[in-house]
């Protein structure tokens, strides 16, 4: 396998982008990544999109985007693993470069979610759960994570305030990220007084509906050296599945797909959880970040809530989690999220993260999750 480097990253301002279409959002972002890499041609395009069909009525988006990027006839593929589609695009790009099938790959993700109304968006997101045995009964995504939250509170004594502290921390970080959808701070009180969505989760426990894209350019480390670009290597890549129905799992509070994907990524990179300096995780809901930090082995099982309360995962903490603001403050255009996590880690490892820069960050990790944990993609990055 060839060593793989990220030589270019791109992300534009996320939010409710009424004036921009899916293709415009993606192309603007991809151009930033190509310019950052200093290349104008690619050998392959991989696009993560969870549900362009339900959100904008457009399938076949990989070819569409290759066309609008002026890259036809390169091969282009759209990959889907619900909210982990972006992470999967990164992994597929990694595999293409590592295997030698392609020299320069653009791996991107995009979701345009505000062309439909709220009920339609809720429906589209719901398709990541089991249609016949979860959605059929009236469950929603906030509902599924609420079931996890209450079980975690019961089993480990995690408190309602600790859940709120995840959102507060991520908004603190997001306030330093000008590209975030919600670049402002919130308080524990504002979370606890926000409207209930699915008890015990309130609206400020939930990531928002977002339009956005993110892109990275990958090539072999050998080629990156010739291009004389700052090199961040991808040294570990892991992917795993679990039952998509939450009720089918032995332990509702444990994200086995994240544990398994991380195990593979750690083994490939030759790293342990304590070697990681900075982490971007899938905080689609506050409880998710707590469970993910446990499954990644960053904190002990059941101690994720306490870790937030003690400031362990804060920007100045022992292991900063979601310096970018996370899905909560930065936004969550589902197909783009996994790629945007990589963009943040690369910026951090290059020392280009501005006011939210984590000092001495040399090894970073991204964790991108689909549904209620039915799929996870984990990557480990290192400064060359």
């Amino acid at each position: 396998m060839r060593e793989v480097a990220v030589i270019g990253v791109g992300m534009t301002k996320w939010g409710e982008l009424w004036e921009k279409s899916l293709r415009q959002i993606f192309v603007e972002t991809a151009l930033l990544a190509l310019d950052d890499a200093g290349v104008d041609r690619i050998d392959s395009l991989i696009v993560g999109s969870m549900s362009s069909g339900l959100f904008v009525g457009q399938e076949h988006v990989a070819s569409l985007l290759a066309d609008y990027l002026g890259q036809t006839p390169v091969p282009a593929a759209r990959v889907e693993s619900a909210c982990a589609s972006g992470g999967l695009a990164l992994r597929m790009g990694f595999i293409e470069v590592a295997s030698g099938m392609a020299d320069i790959v653009l791996a991107g993700g995009v979701e345009k979610m505000t062309d439909v109304n709220g009920h339609e968006a809720t429906y589209a997101l719901g398709t990541a759960a089991d249609q016949e045995y979860e959605c059929f009964h009236g469950i929603t995504f906030p509902g599924l994570y609420a079931l996890i939250a209450l079980a975690h509170m019961e089993k480990y004594g995690t408190t309602r305030e600790q859940l709120a502290m995840v959102a507060v921390k991520n908004h603190d970080n997001g306030s330093l990220n000008p590209l975030a959808q919600f670049p402002f701070k919130i308080t524990v009180d504002s979370v606890l007084s926000s409207v209930l969505v699915a008890d015990p989760l309130r609206v400020l426990d939930c990531s928002p509906i977002t339009d956005g894209a993110a892109a990275v350019v990958l090539c072999s480390v050998e080629m990156a050296k010739k291009l004389k670009k700052p090199i961040v290597k991808i040294t570990g890549s892991g992917q795993a599945t679990d039952t998509i129905a939450l009720s089918s799992r032995k332990d509702i509070t444990w994200l086995e797909s994240t544990f398994q994907a991380a195990k593979k990524a750690y083994a490939m990179a030759g790293k342990k959880p304590e070697d990681i300096d900075i982490v971007e995780v899938h905080d689609c809901f506050t409880i998710a970040e707590i469970c993910v930090t446990e499954a990644l082995g960053l904190v002990e099982k059941g101690k994720g809530g306490k870790a937030v309360e003690e400031g362990l995962t804060a920007l100045q903490g022992k292991i900063p989690v979601n310096a970018s603001g996370g899905l909560k403050a930065k936004g969550h255009p589902v197909g783009a999220t996994g790629v945007a996590q990589a963009v943040e880690i690369v910026k951090q490892l290059r020392g280009e993260a501005g006011p939210r820069q984590v000092k001495e960050a040399k090894v970073g990790l991204t964790q991108n999750m689909g549904g209620s944990g039915g799929s996870t993609v984990v990557h480990i990055f290192e400064r060359a």
């Binding site: 009920h119 339609e120 809720t122 429906y123 719901g126 016949e132 045995y133 979860e134 959605c135 059929f136 009964h137 009236g138 469950i139 929603t140 906030p142 509902g143 609420a146 079931l147 996890i148 209450l150 079980a151 019961e154 409207v195 209930l196 969505v197 699915a198 008890d199 015990p200 989760l201 129905a245 939450l246 009720s247 089918s248 509702i252």
Partner: protein
């Protein structure tokens, strides 16, 4: 709007609670699977799930998906049946204040939702206090 076939082909599970029990290791799969996730065997016998169990976790859905708009707020939970199988479903005929982890519930056959004014009416299982 889905065709009626999407509805009736789920009837063995939704109406009759039919599950697949692995003839090799005894693992119960609901809905049935082709390969046992525990031992990879492919021989299953059809069994009927237990009709009662206890609440493992629950929530109250306040922002519902479209077909459930006129039912919200409503309680949902994951229930562990007496045979160890876990199901997701609505918990009805129970005040929200009386929801409790560990509370005993039984399965009843109920209307789940209907498609508009003249669409298919969907039935299935819900949980009620025992």
């Amino acid at each position: 709007m889905p065709t009626p076939s999407r509805y009736w082909r789920e009837i063995p599970q939704r109406y009759r609670l039919e599950a697949g029990k692995c003839r090799n290791c005894g693992f119960v799969a609901f809905p049935p699977r082709a390969i046992c996730p525990a031992c990879k065997a492919r021989e299953f016998e059809t069994i009927t799930l237990a009709d009662a169990g206890k609440i493992l976790t629950y929530t109250i859905i306040r922002v519902p998906p479209q077909p459930f708009v006129d039912q919200a707020p409503y309680a949902m939970g994951i229930v562990e049946l007496d045979d160890g199988v876990r199901l997701t479903g609505q918990i009805v005929d129970c005040d929200f204040e009386e929801l409790k982890i560990g509370r005993r519930v039984k399965i009843e056959f109920r209307k789940i939702f209907q498609e508009g004014e003249s669409g298919v009416i969907y039935y299935g299982y819900k949980f009620v206090p025992e």
